[in-house]
């Protein structure tokens, strides 16, 4: 199939039909900031940092789109750092920094865009969660469990297990804590116990090296899902 020809910041590049703009930009070395993007999950366009300005003819009418889920097409003209784009990115970063001043990585990213001190009063009650939704999506799309979701709506929106009670379906895999970009989700381990989202899991000991490596509940779930006998799963990934 013929390649699509698109122009990014004045440079001609090629793309495949069905590709999203963000991927095309990054592959060609154009830096686009994101906070809610992960290649492993479906893009949802929550953070709005990846916006770009597009038009179909030089000097024509432009539009701001979220590049993470904008499907490219032949002849597209893209600006990755136009005035409008910068206005949206700076606004988003300033709003987020005011909401989550402690979020890991956020002050550094905001500083890259010249934002060090938000013009809004700093919040203290949202923790480090910027509501990127990666934990929810990873749990659903990658792990296949759906222990996490969104609670409430709008400014009171939160991520977590239903009713913020320990979830009966959570397997304690910790994937949510792993993908969380800001360090909001806390997972702790002590001895043979792992704690996450208010639920405590007993850990299994590796048959070979003897270290605690995974919740028993998770291994049972994997065994049921794959048909591999539980005993065979009792070896940690390093010793397999």
């Amino acid at each position: 199939m013929d390649k699509l020809k698109i122009q990014i910041d004045g440079k001609q590049v090629e793309a495949e039909k069905g590709e999203y703009l963000l991927g095309v930009c990054r592959r060609n070395g154009f830096a686009i900031p994101t906070l809610c993007h992960n290649d492993q999950v479906t893009p949802e366009g929550r953070c709005r940092l990846c916006v770009c300005e597009i038009r179909w003819e030089p000097g024509g009418r432009s539009r701001i789109v979220a590049s993470c889920l904008y499907p490219v097409d032949d002849g597209l003209i893209v600006e990755t750092h136009s005035d409008k784009v910068m206005l949206v990115r700076k606004t988003v970063l300033e709003l987020l920094l005011a909401r989550n001043p402690e979020a890991e990585g956020l002050p550094e990213l905001a500083a890259e865009y010249g934002i060090t001190k938000p013009r809004y009063p700093l919040d203290t009650d949202y923790g480090k969660c910027i509501l990127c939704g990666l934990c929810v999506q990873t749990c659903r799309e990658v792990v296949g469990v759906e222990a996490l979701g969104y609670l409430m709506r709008g400014v009171t929106k939160k991520v977590g297990p239903a009713f913020m009670e320990p979830s009966p379906v959570c397997i304690g895999c910790g994937a949510c804590a792993f993908v969380c970009p800001t360090g909001h989700i806390i997972m702790t381990e002590q001895g043979d116990e792992r704690k996450i989202w208010g639920k405590t899991f007993k850990l299994e000991k590796c048959g070979k090296c003897g270290r605690f490596y995974a919740p028993k509940f998770e291994l049972e779930w994997m065994s049921r899902l794959t048909g591999v006998p539980y005993e065979k799963l009792k070896v940690c990934p390093d010793c397999r």
Partner: protein, 624 residues
């Protein structure tokens, strides 16, 4: 029964009611009427009639529009036209039954007008025609054609007034031809955006898919807007027929069609009347298999919405229909290609569908002959706020705002000065008096920074504070934002805080600049229409009423006397006669004084509720 026979039966029954040997009493019993007291009237009618030993037919009808005159009761005596009476209390109803039905006093002073058209209905006993009333004169009924005339719970009433003729005609046309007619008519979506209806239908028709979903958006949620509720309650079949025609035009010969009407659950009467209408339509063969012998199959169901404003946004509505949380989705791939359950989906608003049968029935040229160059036909507005006559009005596109306010609305209550009109609900903007000569249509409203929206029109007077108005809408939207994307969720919260600060007299001039900058970013950066249009109330008030912002910030003054932190009440000792009323009513004991001597207000205790001002008969309480 075939369609012809059903039509004849329906017309016969309808005529029989018009020429009834016994009096017919019509009670406007849509939600608006019920709220004004029509329920009580309906309840007392049987016993009152039997006490007077009178036989009469009681027909609950929908809403004819003039809310300010509700409850409305129409009385039709044998050989006399149907006379509409306004603001009927139980006491007035008793008087009317006695004087009008038993004796022959028609009480012209209580009447609003004669319902009906044509020479047969001219000037009876000094009662004018209803549609000669100032509020109704400039109106033209297309979408509301049956509202208030028919009993919405009887399909026969709808059919008698020309119902389902459009559908029957459509079945004799090619689907492409129907879409072409809609295109020629110039019909644009009444839900707010004003997208060409034919263009939408055509793309859904052309999209690949084994099933085509035909949806109706009845999730009307703008504060102060109620045209869709009234249509669904008062004339549910007009919506169903429109949707049937759309389904046939879009899917026939291409795919299977299925439909849903998405109605908010806060509209229980609309849900009830629609459900009943669907049942009757099914019973008479307008839904189901081989409709009217055309070979076309279509099924239509109701889906109740759980009360989220954002679910009126098309992609959120579809997620909600799927049983998921109502979060909008980015629409780079249109719903016409991948909508509900990833299938080609057509979503139109209640009013859009209600117009369709008339267009098919009377031809596209007729519809295109009404309105302005870019916006054809009529539009229903809910005209509310500080005008004398409030209610639903349907006017040709292109009527000026001034005519809406002065003629149809009857001017401002209490002779106050008009300040602005807010159109388009929370997504719209405020239009100042200086622009009142603009012709109301999709493009003109957008040009001045507002929008048509679904048709809310709130008239504001000198007693409305524009900063407070902006704050009201921002508060509403902050509550209703789904919270998915950052600019809308966080931006609205910050806008609210800044605006609150300004109304409390704690604002700075930088705040206005920040509001403007934030608004610009939200408009281009938000994910869905809710966030993109959310700054409109703020940006339009800054654009046209910057002075009021400056007054709040620099002079710490609210000229409308709305922002309580910036006003104070005092008593003019020259005017006060010491009647004591203010002291009796003051909830905090701030207003005090000896009898027959001037009273004073203790500013420490005053909570600025304004009750003293309302109760004072001497106008001695001053608001500054």
């Amino acid at each position: 029964m075939d369609f012809k026979a059903l039509q004849e039966k329906s017309r016969r029954e309808y005529q029989a009611r018009l020429n009834s040997e016994v009096p017919v009493i019509y009670v406007g019993a849509a939600t608006c009427g019920l709220a004004a007291g029509a329920g009580e009237l309906l309840k007392m009618l049987p016993s009152e009639l039997s006490a007077l030993k009178l036989k009469a037919e009681v027909v609950p009808v929908g809403c004819i529009g003039p809310c300010c005159f509700e409850p409305l009761v129409d009385i039709q005596k044998p050989g006399k036209p149907r006379i509409c009476y306004k603001q009927v209390t139980p006491r007035i109803l008793k008087t009317l039954l006695q004087d009008c039905l038993v004796n022959d006093n028609l009480h012209p002073e209580l009447a609003l007008g004669i319902v009906g058209e044509g020479p047969a209905f001219r000037g009876i006993d000094g009662i004018p025609l209803l549609f000669d009333h100032q509020m109704l004169k400039g109106q033209m009924r297309v979408a509301l054609r049956n509202c208030g005339y028919i009993d919405p719970t009887r399909i026969e009433d709808y059919i008698a007034r020309g119902g389902y003729i459009g559908l029957e005609k459509a079945f004799r046309m090619k689907p492409e031809e129907i879409i072409d007619w809609i295109k020629k008519s110039g019909l644009r979506g009444r839900g707010g955006g004003g997208f060409g209806t034919a263009r939408k239908w055509d793309s859904v028709r052309k999209a690949e898919g084994s099933v085509k979903y035909i949806l109706c958006n009845g999730d009307e949620g703008d504060p102060g807007a109620f045209m869709d509720r009234s249509t669904m309650e008062s004339d549910p079949h007009s919506v169903i027929e429109g949707q049937l025609i759309a389904a046939y035009a879009i899917s026939s010969g291409k795919a299977r069609a299925e439909g849903y009407i998405y109605v908010r659950n806060e509209y229980p009467l609309a849900v009830k009347n629609l459900a009943l209408a669907l049942e009757q339509a099914r019973q008479y063969g307008f839904l189901g298999k081989n409709i009217l012998g055309s070979g076309f199959d279509f099924e239509l169901r109701i889906n109740r919405g759980g009360g989220a404003f954002v679910c009126g946004e098309s992609s959120a509505l579809m997620r909600s229909l799927e049983g998921k949380a109502g979060e909008p989705r980015q629409k780079y791939i249109h719903a016409s290609d991948k909508g509900l359950w990833e299938q080609p989906t057509n979503l139109n608003n209640v009013e859009t569908y209600a117009c369709v049968p008339e267009i098919i029935n009377r031809g596209p040229e007729w519809f295109a002959g009404i309105g302005t160059k870019g916006s054809k036909g009529t539009k229903v507005f809910s005209l509310v706020g500080k005008v004398n006559y409030t209610g639903l009005v349907e006017v040709p596109m292109g009527v000026t705002l001034r005519d809406m306010v002065v003629k149809i609305g009857g001017g401002i209550r209490g002779g106050k000065k008009v300040k602005a009109v807010q159109t388009g609900g929370p997504s719209g903007g405020v239009i100042p008096e200086s622009l009142f000569d603009l012709q109301v249509d999709f493009d003109e409203l957008a040009r001045v920074g507002s929008m048509m929206g679904s048709g809310g029109m709130i008239v504001m007077s000198e007693e409305d504070c524009m900063v407070d108005v902006a704050l009201y809408y921002v508060k509403f939207l902050e509550q209703e934002s789904c919270g998915k994307c950052v600019p809308c969720r966080e931006g609205l919260r910050r806008m609210k805080n800044i605006l609150s600060r300004i109304t409390e007299g704690k604002g700075a001039m930088e705040d206005v600049a920040l509001l403007y900058e934030l608004g610009q970013a939200m408009q281009i950066g938000s994910l869905c229409g809710l966030g993109q249009s959310a700054p409109n109330p703020v940006l339009s008030t800054i654009k046209y009423f910057r002075k009021e912002y400056e007054q709040h910030i620099l002079e710490k003054k609210c000229c409308a006397g709305v922002c309580t932190a910036l006003i104070s009440y005092s008593i003019d000792p020259q005017t006060c006669n010491g009647c004591h009323l203010c002291e009796i009513h003051c909830p905090t004991g701030a207003a005090k004084g000896e009898k027959k001597k001037p009273h004073v207000i203790n500013q420490e205790l005053c909570i600025k509720c304004g009750i003293c001002c309302d109760v004072c008969r001497q106008d001695a309480v001053l608001k500054k």
